[in-house]
């Protein structure tokens, strides 16, 4: 490895607006050892210390910007701009879930082996008298062989004995050598199935297979984003007189947004498939016919006991991003009584309408904001361990998709 590129440069830490992280340190290094030296120097530098009477007892306390150790967050970004976007999200979370963050961008895989590290510390004060909370961010660009052995770079930079979350914002990290090496060190993998190319279903199947092989917890933003839908759908069956219908679902239809009907560019179907998979896994259904294209959209069939439940996933022209869920319709029947539920969502609200034998028995809207990456990442971090609902939903999604995704 080469020597460090330049001398460390501290940025005088001036606490900014309460709750807003500010850059407090910046330096560069080009070796693991160099990075480790820089990380140690951050906290010893005078600009990271404040001598103030914290508890007003007349005794001056040396307040050191506290490096917080909630976890290690590793981002593998294929493009620098993706890394920047992720870093902005992570910095906004400094006060809430401060972590050591490594943003890794592999580059020039066929060139010589090299890497460059930009080391930063961001600090935030929650209030005037509260001590600063600081977190380190290391931007790593790895070229050549270095970029193929990410685990060799990531592992020595992790804070000991803390969980490692790997955020992979681009295409799913399978099945390349690069991804395999990065996945070696992580406890949780964060992905966003709704950003994958094509229908995203091939990648979804791979993720399900990976979930079976490794005990890594997988958090998919695409699934987490749907929680407001799930709340609305579940609320349909909260009423004691409607609850029995939950075991007698007879049809599921999901409508998603499409921009044009030329069929040239397939919209991402991960979210619509997740809706069906979640319902099927929660209601104990089995797949009787896998997802297949039909004249308008896709169809599949589930089995609910002895009854076959047709599933339709159909497109509708909309200005919303392609693949966005527009409507979920559920039909259930007990003997001659038919229950029909229609769930729709807008930017800030979700609506549920229910008819029993054609008589409207429920119409309700409730506030449920669309969540940003910031909200989603915060939720992922707060979730401990594997979420059994997510595990079962992903497995069911793979079963619905089948061996040869449409």
């Amino acid at each position: 490895m080469t020597a460090d590129l330049e001398q460390p440069r501290s940025v005088t830490f001036m606490p900014g607006e309460e709750g807003r992280p500010v850059l407090a340190w910046r330096s560069r290094a080009s070796s693991i050892e160099g990075i480790q030296t820089e990380l140690a120097r951050i906290w010893a530098h005078p600009t990271m210390q404040r001598d103030i009477d914290l508890d007003h007892d007349g005794v001056i306390d040396r307040q050191i910007g506290a490096r917080t150790s909630v976890m290690n967050l590793v981002v593998v970004a294929r493009r620098p701009e993706t890394g920047e976007r992720c870093a902005a999200t992570i910095h906004a979370l400094t006060g809430r879930h401060p972590s050591r963050t490594l943003i890794v961008t592999p580059a020039d895989p066929d060139g010589p082996s090299w890497f460059d590290a930009n080391i930063q510390a961001h600090c935030m004060v929650a209030s005037e008298t509260a001590p600063a909370t600081c977190a380190e961010t290391i931007y790593l660009t790895c070229g050549g062989e270095s970029g193929r052995h990410l685990e060799a770079i990531i592992a020595p930079l992790l804070i000991h004995d803390l969980p490692v979350t790997l955020w992979w914002p681009d295409e799913p990290p399978l099945p390349t050598h690069v991804s395999a090496s990065a996945l070696e060190v992580c406890d949780r993998l964060v992905i966003d199935g709704s950003s994958w190319h094509g229908t995203g279903l091939t990648q979804l199947r791979r993720m399900a297979a990976f979930q079976q092989r490794r005990p890594v917890a997988i958090s998919d933003f695409a699934l987490i984003r749907q929680s407001r839908w799930r709340e609305a759908i579940a609320s349909v069956f909260d009423r004691p007189d409607v609850l029995p219908f939950v075991s007698h679902v007879r049809a599921i239809t999901v409508t998603y947004a499409e921009h044009d009907d030329s069929g040239i560019e397939a919209p991402n179907l991960v979210k619509p498939v997740y809706h069906v998979a979640w319902l099927a896994s929660r209601l104990g259904m089995r797949v009787s016919r896998r997802l297949a294209p039909e004249s308008a959209g896709f169809s599949a069939a589930l089995r609910n006991g002895r009854v076959e439940v047709p599933v339709t996933i159909r497109p509708m022209q909309s200005e919303l991003p392609a693949g966005t869920t527009l409507r979920v319709e559920i039909q259930a029947a007990i003997q001659r009584s038919v229950l029909r539920a229609d769930i729709t969502a807008e930017q800030e609200a979700v609506h549920a309408r229910v008819w029993l034998d054609d008589e409207r028995i429920l119409e309700r809207g409730f506030s449920a904001l669309r969540r940003t990456d910031l909200d989603l990442l915060a939720e992922v971090i707060e979730t401990g361990g594997r979420d059994p609902v997510a595990v079962e939903t992903l497995a069911m999604a793979a079963a619905i998709i089948g061996e040869a995704p449409p």
């Binding site: 508890d55 006060g95 579940a234 069956f237 609850l243 029995p244 309700r364």
Partner: protein, 579 residues
């Protein structure tokens, strides 16, 4: 099957003639049904078709399961925020035109509604003395939301759908005919809105009306829970009584009508996020419990400070004062959470059992101890947060010669094996320099000072749990100053809960109302708990009543209370932690 094999036992409401009285908090008495052979200790004869072997029992149960195709819980709720939603219900709000309803109750209900945490079949029946129309009241609530909602702007769609569920009836709480009409009104609401006879009575009234309202509810049968569902619960706001005797009386009056399991006494401090986290901190971490005792802890300080005065509650405060308004509930509740033994389970009664034990272990407050260990104060004029403020006696609705205390500091001791000899210093007051609530656990100094030559002696370890405003936990410990010598300094390790801009914590009232609707009483005070708290505070009030007039005002607004409060701690060679 099991019902025929073993006769069901039925509960007898407390106060039923011929049944033994039970103390509040004790398990409800159970008696055998009339059909059961009361005089013989033998079990009821086994029905012929009752299962005899394990196999028969298993098959019988399996058959039973097969028959019941109806799911009891909504399987789609797994993993969502609430795995069980509250039952359809009517919240009957007594005192609906009052300050509490506007400031706390209705904003909390609105937020629960907009967050989809209330059932669709939910109705608020507001009751008050004023001649309002429902539209007038809704408009008032809407205006109050602008002032008191924790999330702005108001979601108009959510508000409109919530407002449609708000109804108003004029009711004089002393008028029996009004309660007769209330029965009919509730029956109609249950039918129209599918609320299934589930009623939550929220007493947001003057405390003097509690007993009357409860008695009237009992008289017209609105306390009776039905077999086929239809629960009845009552939320009672603090203060619960104004001394031990009145609390016992009120408990007895309430107990004549409602079972203890139906009664939810609110101390909103218990619904605060950090207070709840206190339990997690103590019992979810293994490293603190071994040192959480007299061998390692020197003393504990609990501060509940307010920078505001009595605002427009002068007449209320004249009757309560700091001892009733804060010591009897918030301070003693916090103390019991700090000092309690680990409960067997995180359920309402085991939790409350342990809290009661702490209060009962507090040393008796004799007149001598009150004089020595309790300080009262009343603020005079001064400056708070950069503004001049008037003294308490100049506040609206306050007697110019008032003897009501606006500050209290007390040194309590808990006589048990864990805490014997560890003083608990509690203080609370109005017009203090800032609004802050904190629990500080001061650990004992090291037994041997190894670093005598250090330029500054390190302070003993301290663990501070801040409840408001900067919610978090701070641990102070000694560290070596880098360099050739051995200089030791105290440093702080601070854990701050999420900053306010990202974390959307529910208000305490939201938590508590939701818990009531779900039937979870963990965060509510039980009858015996209230009485145990009053048995600590009442001797203090009685001693003061027998003393001459206090030398009030005795602290300047914007200071940390009277000098005597500092002397109380200084006497033990300690000092209040400045917050």
């Amino acid at each position: 099957m099991t019902e025929t094999a073993t006769p069901r036992r039925r509960r007898v409401p407390r106060g039923t003639p011929g049944t033994p009285e039970t103390k509040p908090g004790e398990p409800e008495p159970e008696v055998a049904p009339e059909s059961a052979p009361d005089k013989t200790p033998h079990p009821a004869p086994r029905p012929k078709d009752a299962p005899r072997t394990m196999r028969e029992l298993r098959l019988a149960r399996a058959a039973g399961r097969k028959r019941s195709a109806r799911p009891k819980v909504n399987p789609l709720r797994m993993g969502l925020r609430l795995e069980r939603v509250p039952d359809p219900s009517v919240l009957v709000l007594f005192g609906a035109t009052g300050d509490l309803a506007h400031r706390k109750v209705v904003p909390a209900l609105y937020h629960l509604w907009r967050s989809n945490l209330l059932p669709h079949e939910f109705v608020v029946l507001c009751l008050g003395r004023r001649p309002y129309s429902p539209e007038t009241l809704r408009a008032e609530y809407r205006a109050s939301l602008e002032k008191y909602s924790r999330v702005l702007p108001i979601d108009e769609t959510a508000w409109r759908s919530f407002a449609r569920r708000i109804f108003y009836e004029r009711l004089d709480f002393g008028d029996p005919a009004g309660f007769d009409q209330l029965v009919t009104r509730l029956e109609h609401l249950d039918l129209e809105h599918g609320t299934e006879g589930n009623h939550l009575y929220y007493l947001a009234t003057q405390p003097s009306a509690f007993a009357e309202i409860v008695a009237q509810l009992g008289r017209v049968g609105l306390d009776h829970e039905r077999h086929e569902g239809g629960w009845r619960r009552v939320i009672i706001e603090k203060p619960f009584g104004h001394d031990l005797q009145s609390a016992i009386r009120l408990n007895r009056e309430v107990g004549k009508v409602f079972r203890e399991s139906q009664v939810y006494r609110i101390d909103h401090y218990l619904g605060k996020e950090t207070v709840r986290n206190l339990l997690v901190f103590r019992f979810g971490n293994g490293i603190f419990e071994p040192i959480w005792n007299r061998r390692h802890i020197d003393h504990v300080q609990i501060t509940v400070a307010e920078s505001i005065g009595v605002e427009n509650r002068g007449s209320f405060y004249e009757e309560t004062g700091a001892s009733r308004d804060f010591l009897q509930n918030h301070l003693l509740q916090l103390m019991s959470l700090v000092a309690m033994e680990p409960p067997a389970t995180f359920e309402a009664n085991p939790l409350r059992d342990e809290k009661v034990k702490v209060m009962r272990a507090v040393s008796e407050m004799t007149p001598e101890r009150v004089q020595a260990d309790v300080v009262r104060g009343q603020y005079g004029s001064g400056w708070v947060e950069g503004k001049p403020v008037v003294g308490y006696r100049e506040e609206p609705e306050v007697d110019p010669e008032s003897e009501t205390e606006t500050f209290i500091a007390a040194r309590l001791e808990i006589d048990d094996w864990r805490w014997g000899g560890v003083p608990f210093y509690l203080r609370s007051g109005k017009r203090l320099p800032k609004r802050a609530t904190e629990i500080a656990v001061q650990f004992k100094d090291v037994p041997h000072r190894l670093f005598r030559d250090a330029s500054a002696e390190p302070e003993p370890n301290l663990l501070a749990m801040r409840i408001q405003p900067d919610e978090g936990i701070m641990l102070r410990f000694a560290a070596k100053v880098p360099g050739l010598g051995i200089d030791v300094r105290s440093v702080s390790m601070d854990f701050t809960y999420g900053s306010a801009f990202t974390v959307d914590s529910p208000d305490a009232y939201e938590t508590l109302i939701l818990d009531t609707l779900l039937g979870d009483a963990s965060l509510f005070t039980r009858a015996d708990e209230v009485e145990a708290a009053w048995s600590i505070v009442t001797p203090i009030i009685d001693t003061w009543a027998n003393e001459g007039p206090p030398d009030f005002p005795n602290y300047e607004a914007g200071s940390w209370g009277p000098e005597a409060a500092h002397a109380l701690v200084a006497r033990d060679d300690r000092k209040w932690r400045r917050i």
